[in-house]
Symmetry: C2
Subunit: 226 residues, 2 copies
């Protein structure tokens, strides 16, 4: 089994991505404490890393609050009860500036140090197209940049591939894929504004899209709502 | 004056870059404490930020020691007394995996939050070509990636330009440029292995290239050597 780095937030998408990566790879998981509101995600990430028997789980502290500018890191209210129309086509206030660029940069560094060829990220361009750094053209450009900026990319000894297996899936397809790989979604945290004990608000964009995903997939929603 | 983010390590190159940026821009400087050996750099960065009257100086703590893999962040000896031939054409052990990718990613986030269009970085491809993430093709690819991954790049409201004004200069040219802009190089720190009070070892690659730069420029070397 070749080695892969998996960006693991502990949410529905990244946990499914971990399950996919584990079919063919030994995994070094990487999570970030970035001053986000949704701290319970890290607990979920630990649980999932352990359940899918990763080789190592690296948790990095980075302080995106230094910059502000997002409802996920600054003192701005998380929007609630928005319709799908309201979510579509605009970049939401929960956008964190350059977040995936920063996360992927760390993943590239880790991949180089542990000699991993594949970096998995659970971005998705379908259900939630508002984030610019979740689109295929961004992922492709980042991969190219990474290979121009690292020892292993330049000398050809260890070019990295950025793998985004969910990028063209609907939330329902993601859920069905995860269930077939034994993901227990009860323990994943998607909510942008969860309670301290990890219960979901049920009303933010992430909760609504997740709930709709279970409904569309025709399977029970195991999320613990507040 | 439009606003620019300047990556400022406190070394010779980044300080010259700051001086260049200040001719035309209000500056938000950004420095990193990344577990590097050369902590005195941060003191130098503060001094330079103040001397060039930046609007704000953001110092970010990131822990690249999590990964290891470099003489600058791990417990690996910094090479000394290497000839220029030995330095040329190979990626040195002082290479920090994906360092400039990580630094630039943070700079992009900061630029987005403070609405800066230009990001200055003091990379140089001539005198010290061993680092893959100092080459023009890396910088160009990164700029493209950044504009695909940020709100301001995608909606066109604030695309960023990565400016690397030193990239094709020799060290002597950099020094002459800085002197013409009133940089006092006595207070910049380039050494990979300085003493606690900021004196340079005089023997690492960075010291040797710096010393040669002053000699080639035909100006006195004000560096405080141990």
């Amino acid at each position: 089994m070749t080695k892969a780095v998996v960006l693991l937030s502990g949410g529905l998408d990244s946990t499914t991505t971990l399950a996919i990566a584990r079919r063919d790879h030994a995994v070094v998981a990487m999570s970030f404490r970035y001053g986000q509101r949704h701290g319970p995600e890290i607990d979920a990430a630990r649980k999932m890393a352990s359940r899918f028997a990763v080789e190592r789980h690296v948790i990095v502290d980075i302080d995106l609050r230094t910059f502000g500018g997002s409802a996920l890191t600054a003192d701005i209210a998380v929007p609630k009860d928005r319709s799908l129309d309201e979510m579509a086509g605009e970049i939401p206030i929960t956008y964190v500036p350059a977040r995936n660029t920063i996360f992927l940069s760390y993943a590239v560094a880790l991949a180089e140090v542990v000699s991993a060829r594949d970096i998995f990220i659970g971005v998705n361009a379908i259900d939630y197209s508002g984030y610019p750094d979740c689109r295929p053209e961004f992922i492709e450009a980042f991969e190219r940049t990474a290979n121009l900026g690292t020892r292993g990319g330049v000398d050809g000894s260890n070019p990295v591939a950025i793998r985004a297996p969910l990028i063209q899936m609907t939330k329902a397809e993601i859920i069905r894929t995860g269930l077939s790989l034994n993901v227990d979604y009860a323990d994943t945290v998607s909510c942008y504004d969860p309670t301290d004990d990890g219960k979901a608000c049920g009303r933010c964009d992430a909760c609504q899209l997740r709930r709709k995903g279970f409904a569309d997939a025709g399977v029970p929603d195991p999320t613990r709502y507040a």
